[in-house]
Symmetry: C2
Subunit: 104 residues, 2 copies
Amino acid sequence: MIMVSVMYPNQAGSKFDMDYYTNTHLPLVAERWGPLGLKGATVVKGLAGPEPGSPATYQVMALVEFETSEAFEKAVAAHGEEIFGDIPNFTDTQPVVQINDVVA
Amino acid sequence: MIMVSVMYPNQAGSKFDMDYYTNTHLPLVAERWGPLGLKGATVVKGLAGPEPGSPATYQVMALVEFETSEAFEKAVAAHGEEIFGDIPNFTDTQPVVQINDVVA
């Protein structure tokens, strides 16, 4: 199992439309990638940094599970342009994306 | 449910002792915080950035679930010094830590 983390920086003055993200973007991801190896996704909203009241580094993080790296690469090849092209519709930040191996 | 993300940057030349982390640090966390509201933890290892072959931003990420922010704050107050003080035993990087609300 691999996990793709998509983390949207909490930049001062940036926008993030949680309503569009939840009701339009995430269903699009599920619809396109569900048949291509997407196993599940967790979405979290940054509340604070390590000290109470300090800002979170990322305002939103999506943790997306795929069966394999190869499945994810095929899913990106098939629908990445549409899915990544939808990002400017809900945020003006650039997400930090990486592919991870789930070890424990 | 909240999720505390602890993300260790993938700095050039940095060290990360995965054996110590897995066999000593994580069991310490489970032992100290298990009775204080820790619900579970996922550990992932960064494989690559968004392009195949590009470096991951974080070499290791721990995603730690607690019942509430208050439970996490109490757990830190009780055992944070010991747990955070153990970090230099397995890495010379400073983790990026934030508290998140699990929304989906």
